[in-house]
C-alpha cells in the first residue's frame, strides 16, 4: 500500500540508538551469509511476487537488519518461496531461509 505524507507522527530517520537489534541479530545468526549482501537487487529484479506487487525483498531484509520491523511481516507474506532469488543471488545467500526466518522471528516479535 502506498504511504502518503500524512503520517507525520512517524520519525523519518532510522534511529540506530533506539532500534531493537535483537531480532536482527537472531536472523543473522541463523543465516550468517546475509551479512555478505552487496545489495545488487538481483533478488528483487527476478522476484515473482515483486513483479506483481510492491514487495521488495532486498529492502525488507535490509530494514530488518537495521532494526526496522514495521510492515515487514506483512510484506514477507507476499513471497511465494519460489526460490528464483536464491538462484540468482551472487553471494549464494539462502534467501528462502531469510524469508522463513524473518517471519519466524517477527511472528513472535
Amino acid at each position: 500500500m502506498p504511504q502518503f505524507g500524512f503520517s507525520i507522527s512517524k520519525p523519518r530517520a532510522i534511529n540506530l540508538d533506539t532500534n531493537d537489534q535483537v531480532p536482527a541479530e537472531r536472523l543473522l545468526q541463523e543465516v550468517p551469509e546475509l551479512k555478505t549482501c552487496i545489495a545488487c537487487g538481483g533478488c528483487t529484479a527476478t522476484c515473482t511476487a515483486g513483479n506483481l506487487t510492491d514487495f521488495n525483498f532486498r529492502k525488507m531484509h535490509t530494514l530488518v537488519r537495521r532494526g526496522e520491523y514495521r510492515e515487514v511481516y506483512e510484506q514477507m507474506d507476499k513471497c511465494m518461496l519460489c526460490g528464483k532469488c536464491r538462484l540468482v543471488c551472487p553471494r549464494g545467500i539462502n534467501t528462502r531461509a531469510v524469508v522463513i526466518k524473518i517471519k519466524r522471528v517477527l511472528g513472535d516479535y
Binding site: T53, K78, M80, G83, K84
Partner: protein, 597 residues
C-alpha cells in the same frame, strides 16, 4: 494352580502390560481416523486386499524379504529374529498342547521345559525342532551384536543411534535368548528333556557340576529369563520394537488404501511406530554422505516426531529427494510425513495473502496446449527457446502461461509446510488454466509437474512434462530427430523420477538422438542435485558439495554431454561440470529434422 511357579510373574505382568498398551494405542488410532479412512477400511475388508495383506505380513513382517534385497546377511539377521521367534512361539505352543493337554496357560508353553512333566522315551522330536529354532534365533542375536561392531559387513555404513528406552529393550532382548539357552540347558541337566543343543549342554553340565549347584543355578536362570522377557515387554510399546506388531495393521490399512496426507492424522501413528529404526535410510542420504550431517535422516525425524521433540533443525533439513523412501523396508511415506509435520508447525496464512494474484494475467498466445515454463525455467532460457522451436516444428498452437513471468505453481510453499497458503496460489492458477481453454498442460519444471498432477485436480486437462510431450510428438511422427553419435548421460531429477515415475521417456528420446550411458546411481536410485527447494537449511556451499559429488559421477560415465530435464538440476550441474550440460529439450531442438514439406 497347575504349571505355576512364582518366577513366571515378571513375564506374565510384562505380557499383560504390553498387550494392554498396544491395544489401547491401536484402538485409539483407529477410533481417531477420519471417516473417509474408516469407510475405506470397511470397503476393503471383504476384498482381495485382505488375503494380499496377509501374504505381505508373512513376507515382510516375518521373512523381511525387502531387507534381504538390501543385504542378504542383514535380511537373515532380521528374519532369524522375527520368523525364528515366531516359530518358537508356535511350535512351543503345539508342543505344550500335545504334552500338557488342552487349555495350557500362556506361561506353560513359554517355559515348557521347566514344566515338562517328564522324560520322553526315545527322545522328544519337539525338543530337536525347538533347539534348531533357538539356534536360529541365537544366530540372529550374534549377528545383531556383530552389526553393532561392524555394520559395514552387513551392507550398512552407519547404524542408528538409539534412545534410552530402545537401549533398555535392546539389552533385554539380547539377554532373552542366551538366558533361555542357559535355563533350558540346566533344566536338561536335571530332567534330561533337551534336544541336541540344550540336551547336549545339559549332559555336559550334569557331568561336571554338583547336583545341588545345578538346582540352585537352574532356578536363578529361570527367574532371570522371565525377568528379561518381562523387561522387554514393558519397554516394548515405548521403544522401536513397537514396530514388530504395528507393521501388521499398517500393512492391512495400506492395502485398504489408507494414506497419510497434507495434514497430520492418526494414521500417521501407524507409519511412525512401524519404523524399526533399522537405519537403512541413513546411508542413501546425501546430507550424510556428502556433508556429514548425521542427525536429520528419516529414522531420526520419525523418532523425534514420535516422542514429541521434533526440532526445526531436523524437520527442515531434508532434501525430500526420496532416496530413503524407496529404500525403506517398511514402505513408510517418509516425505508425506515430513511435509505434514511442517504443515503442522506453520500454516495460518492471512486470507488476503495472495489476493494480488487476482486479475493478473501475463499470459500470451492461444491454443489447446498450454505451456507453463515454471519460475526456474525462466532462468534457463535455452529450454524456453528450445520448447519454442519444438512447438513450431510440430505446428502446435500454444498458450504461453508464464513466459513474461507469472505466479509460482505453489509447490515450494507446500514443501515448506504452508499447504493452506499454497492452495490459494493453486486456485488462482487453476482459474487461469480454465479461462484459457487448454486441454493439455506442458511444463518444463518437474516441481510444477508434480503439484499440477497431485494437487490441482485439473479436470479435462492432461498434464505432461516436456519429456513426455516431446516423446509423444516423436511417436506420432509430428517431429523427427537426426540421430548422431554423441554419447549422453542422463540425470534423473528427483521430482521427475522418484517423484513422478518418469524414467523411460527421457531415455527413449536420448536413444533416438544418440547413445546413452548410465551413471552409477540412476533411475530410482539417482542422486539429488542438492538444490531441492524442500531444504531451507543447507547453505550454498553445502548445496554445491552435493552437486559436485553427483556431477563427478555423471562425468565419470565417459559421456560427451550431460542431459537432465529440470532447470534446477541443470543449474546445479553447470556449476560443477566440465562437460557441456543441456536440458533434454535443447538436445531435441538441436537435432530436429527440418522436413521438406
Amino acid at each position: 494352580m497347575a504349571y505355576y511357579d512364582s518366577f513366571v510373574i515378571p513375564f506374565l505382568a510384562g505380557t499383560v502390560f504390553m498387550f494392554a498398551v498396544i491395544a489401547w494405542k491401536w484402538c485409539r488410532w483407529i477410533w481417531l481416523l477420519p471417516s473417509e479412512d474408516k469407510r475405506a477400511i470397511s470397503k476393503g475388508v471383504f476384498t482381495s486386499a485382505t488375503p494380499k495383506a496377509v501374504w505381505e505380513v508373512i513376507s515382510e513382517s516375518l521373512l523381511h524379504r525387502k531387507i534381504f534385497r538390501v543385504n542378504p546377511l542383514l535380511g537373515y539377521m532380521h528374519m532369524s529374529l522375527a520368523f525364528g521367534w515366531f516359530l518358537l512361539i508356535v511350535v512351543g505352543w503345539i508342543e505344550a498342547a500335545v504334552e500338557l493337554g488342552a487349555g495350557t496357560p500362556l506361561h506353560a508353553h513359554v517355559f515348557f521345559r521347566y514344566f515338562d512333566p517328564g522324560a520322553h522315551a526315545g527322545g522328544n522330536p519337539f525338543a530337536t525342532v525347538m533347539d534348531l529354532l533357538l539356534l536360529m534365533v541365537l544366530s540372529g542375536v550374534v549377528l545383531a551384536w556383530f552389526k553393532r561392531v561392524r555394520s559395514r559387513a552387513m551392507g550398512m555404513k552407519r547404524t542408528t543411534r538409539h534412545v534410552l528406552v530402545d537401549r533398555v529393550a535392546l539389552t533385554a532382548l539380547w539377554f532373552v535368548f542366551p538366558l533361555r539357552l542357559a535355563a533350558e540347558s540346566f533344566m536338561a541337566a536335571i530332567k534330561h528333556n533337551g534336544g541336541f543343543l540344550t540336551g547336549g549342554l545339559g549332559d555336559l553340565i550334569a557331568a561336571h557340576m554338583d547336583p545341588a549347584v545345578i538346582a540352585g543355578v537352574n532356578s536363578v536362570l529361570w527367574w532371570l529369563y522371565s525377568f528379561a522377557l518381562g523387561t522387554f515387554f514393558v519397554a516394548m510399546p515405548f521403544s522401536r520394537y513397537m514396530h514388530i506388531f504395528t507393521e501388521i495393521p499398517l500393512i492391512f490399512l495400506r492395502r485398504y488404501k489408507v494414506r497419510s496426507g497434507d495434514h497430520t492424522k492418526s494414521f500417521d501413528n501407524f507409519q511412525i511406530q512401524a519404523c524399526s529404526r533399522c537405519g537403512i535410510c541413513i546411508d542413501p542420504c546425501q546430507l550424510q554422505r556428502d556433508l556429514g550431517i548425521g542427525d536429520v535422516q528419516s529414522v531420526y525425524f520419525l523418532r523425534d516426531r514420535r516422542y514429541g521433540r521434533l526440532s526445526d533443525k531436523v524437520l527442515d533439513n531434508c532434501l525430500m529427494c526420496g532416496r530413503c523412501e524407496v529404500k525403506c523396508p517398511v514402505g513408510i511415506e517418509l516425505n508425506t510425513l515430513r511435509s505434514n509435520s511442517r504443515q503442522e508447525r506453520v500454516d495460518s496464512p492471512a486470507l488476503t495473502r495472495y489476493d494480488y494474484l487476482k486479475g493478473t494475467d501475463r499470459s500470451s498466445g492461444s491454443g489447446r496446449v498450454g505451456y507453463f515454463a515454471g519460475c526456474m525455467t525462466l532462468l534457463t532460457p535455452v529450454t524456453l527457446r528450445s520448447m519454442e522451436r519444438i512447438f513450431a516444428a510440430a505446428g502446435e498452437d500454444v498458450w504461453w502461461a508464464d513466459r513474461d513471468g507469472a505466479s509460482c505453481c505453489g509447490r515450494p510453499l507446500k514443501l515448506s509446510g504452508e499447504v493452506n497458503a499454497a492452495r490459494r496460489i493453486m486456485e488462482y492458477n487453476k482459474e487461469q488454466f480454465a479461462a484459457h481453454g487448454i486441454s493439455t498442460l506442458v511444463t518444463s519444471c518437474p516441481i510444477c509437474l508434480k503439484v499440477f498432477r497431485e494437487d490441482y485436480a485439473l479436470e479435462g486437462i492432461e498434464v505432461l512434462h516436456h519429456t513426455e510431450y516431446i516423446l509423444r510428438l516423436l511417436e506420432q511422427g509430428r517431429i523427427a530427430l537426426n540421430a548422431g553419435d554423441t554419447v549422453y548421460t542422463y540425470h534423473d531429477p528427483c521430482e521427475l523420477g522418484r517423484g513422478s515415475g518418469i524414467y523411460d521417456e527421457p531415455r527413449q528420446i536420448l536413444g533416438m538422438a544418440g547413445k546413452l550411458v548410465e551413471p552409477e546411481h540412476s533411475r530410482s536410485d539417482a542422486m539429488c542435485c542438492g538444490s531441492s527447494l524442500a531444504n531451507t537449511v543447507i547453505d550454498d556451499g553445502q548445496q554445491l558439495r552435493i552437486g559436485a559429488a553427483m556431477t563427478t559421477e555423471l562425468e565419470r560415465t565417459g559421456a560427451g554431454c550431460i542431459v537432465t530435464a529440470c532447470p534446477l538440476c541443470k543449474k546445479a550441474i553447470v556449476r560443477n561440470a566440465t562437460l557441456p550440460v543441456a536440458d533434454i529439450s535443447q538436445i531435441v531442438a538441436e537435432r530436429l529434422q527440418v522436413s521438406g514439406t
